[in-house]
């Protein structure tokens, strides 16, 4: 027999196996530890969410022990900082929606048009210049946009509307619109680029022009991504803080007139934070109630946009 001829000293089976087992035991331990560590990292995000919700809800409960929810949600006056105090949040919500509405009115057409241009028309050379500059635009801090709105856009607009107030919803909304153009544009472009070539070919083969291919085939096929992009951009505009804190004013007012001074939810939180209001006062609690409302609004928009993509994703 062949195995009988093998000398145990030449082929030290037992020793090699035991050292291998030791290595394997150690590596199994290491794998388990690393697995736990990585899982702990992943849990940080879960605890962040729990932290946000618990913290906002707890302080809001404190707020509602002093102010009735009915007044908060239906009142049309917001004057927590002077007597007589009113805690109706609607003027802040109105200011938020007004500026975000102006922003989306700007960003939607411009962002979509540039997405179509980049995905259907632009040559590689153009794209290589435009896309990085859009990225830079998206990377400009919002405090800089606020400065631009106040010191450039407002003076220009005041030439057109002489009775416009220095701090106004229009300038802030316009600049916020420019800020979210890159978001609308790049997310919609991604959705359009994902539309297969074969669909474009089919439309060209039927004698469609480039514009017709873009508007009648590519955009409808990419609609789930485009709508999601717009909702995300709107949510971003609702949560945007520094532009409105700098340029839109600090006078909570329920109005649709963009030439007036207003205050958004975010700007109010900044205004209170600047004073470093002492812990435990009603004024301190207001920012958490407003923050919770803001959090819920943006969360709903984000969830809706994710649901929309899943629900209406095209199978080409």
């Amino acid at each position: 027999m062949l195995s009988g001829q093998l000398n145990p000293q030449e082929f030290p089976v037992g020793e090699s196996f035991s050292s291998l087992r030791r290595i394997r035991q150690w590596s199994r331990l290491r794998e388990a530890v690393i697995n736990r560590l990585l899982f702990a990292c992943a849990l940080v995000s879960i605890f962040t969410t729990i932290g946000i919700v618990v913290m906002l809800v707890a302080q809001t409960v404190g707020f509602f022990s002093k102010v009735s929810p009915l007044e908060f949600f239906t009142g049309t006056k917001w004057t927590p900082l002077f007597q007589p105090q009113h805690f109706g949040v609607l003027p802040l919500v109105g200011g938020t929606l007004l500026t975000a509405g102006i922003a989306i009115l700007i960003a939607l057409p411009i962002g979509l048009a540039s997405a179509v241009y980049l995905s259907e028309y632009a040559r590689d050379k153009v794209r290589r210049v435009v896309k990085p500059s859009l990225e830079i635009l998206a990377g400009i801090p919002t405090v800089v946009y606020g400065y631009f709105a106040l010191t450039f856009v407002t003076p220009v607009l005041r030439n057109v509307f002489p009775n416009m107030i220095v701090f106004n919803a229009l300038s802030a909304g316009l600049v916020m619109g420019v800020m979210i153009i890159p978001m609308v544009s790049s997310l919609s472009e991604d959705a359009m680029v994902a539309v297969p070539r074969s669909l474009r070919d089919a439309a060209y083969g039927l004698g469609a022009t480039r514009l017709e291919v873009a508007t009648r085939v590519v955009m409808p096929a990419a609609v789930s991504g485009i709508v999601a992009a717009c909702i995300l951009a709107l949510s971003r505009a609702v949560g945007e803080t520094m532009i409105v804190a700098i340029a839109a004013g600090s006078t909570p007012k329920l109005t649709l007139n963009p030439l007036e001074s207003i205050q958004t939810m975010t700007a109010y939180i900044v205004q209170i934070s600047l004073g470093e209001t002492p812990h435990g006062t009603v004024e301190y609690y207001t920012i958490f109630a407003v923050g919770l409302l803001l959090f819920i609004m943006t969360l709903l928009m984000n969830l809706f946009s994710q649901w929309f993509v899943r629900r209406y994703r095209e199978k080409y």
């Binding site: 992943a42 048009a113 801090p141 945007e240």
Partner: protein, 292 residues
Amino acid sequence: MKNSAVFQQNLKVRHIKERVHRTLMSLATLTGIIVLTLLLIDVLKDGAGWLDWQFITSYPSRKPAEAGLLSALFGTLWIMVLTALFSLPIGIGTAIYLEEYAPDNRLQRLIQTNINNLAGVPSIVYGLLGLSLFVQALAMGRSILAGALTLTLMSLPVIIIAAQEAIRSVPEGHRLGAFALGATRWQVVRNIVLPQALPGILTGTILAMSRAIGEAAPMIAISALVYLTFIPISPLDRFTVLPIQIFNWVSRPQEDFQHLAAAGIIVLLIVLLSMNAIAIILRNRYQKRTEE
């Protein structure tokens, strides 16, 4: 034949429409570049004259001519380093867990959805979280540490998503090849996945950091202090950062403070654009290598 008559009739209008829309769309595409140019010109015109050595090396002051952003610059530096230190390991760790370790179950999907939603939470809400969690509940006070931890939580979702994309772009075959040689999961991650994904992860991280550094809103909720006349030397010191300093100057009615704000913006933009440039160079180099 009737059809082709109609076709011919329409053709001219269709081509005019095509040309008009094409022009409008290219103008829309240029909007971003035009505004960017206007913004830069506006800032440079207002602030370049005020940007000098004295501005960089002075503390804030009520007299515009003597004011500077030394403390804000150091505050930003502190915050940047600490935030990177906290968010990089946690962010990359989470991405590795989700892409390489997590079983495809409900918990994994919950974590993923949760991260996507956290990415959309307004930055000011993170400020409120930091204020009540770090400043008050954990009694860190309005310190650099509280600020850096707040920014860490805020930038984590962005870093995680970028790192996940980079990890996902590593071809499955490379992993399988290593597994077939008897490598453990961690050996595969450390020797195969991470080296290939690293440039993408770094690019995403640098962009996320530059976004975080420019954020004023959450920092205002933590520490709105602006007349800070010392350089913080400990993570538990109070601090101010560039965006807060700029915001404070913008908020003052006197024109000289507007110029200071513009000068501060130039400094901030230089810091951020150089970070962006590093990220873009890194990405281009990486892309070229994978194309070859």
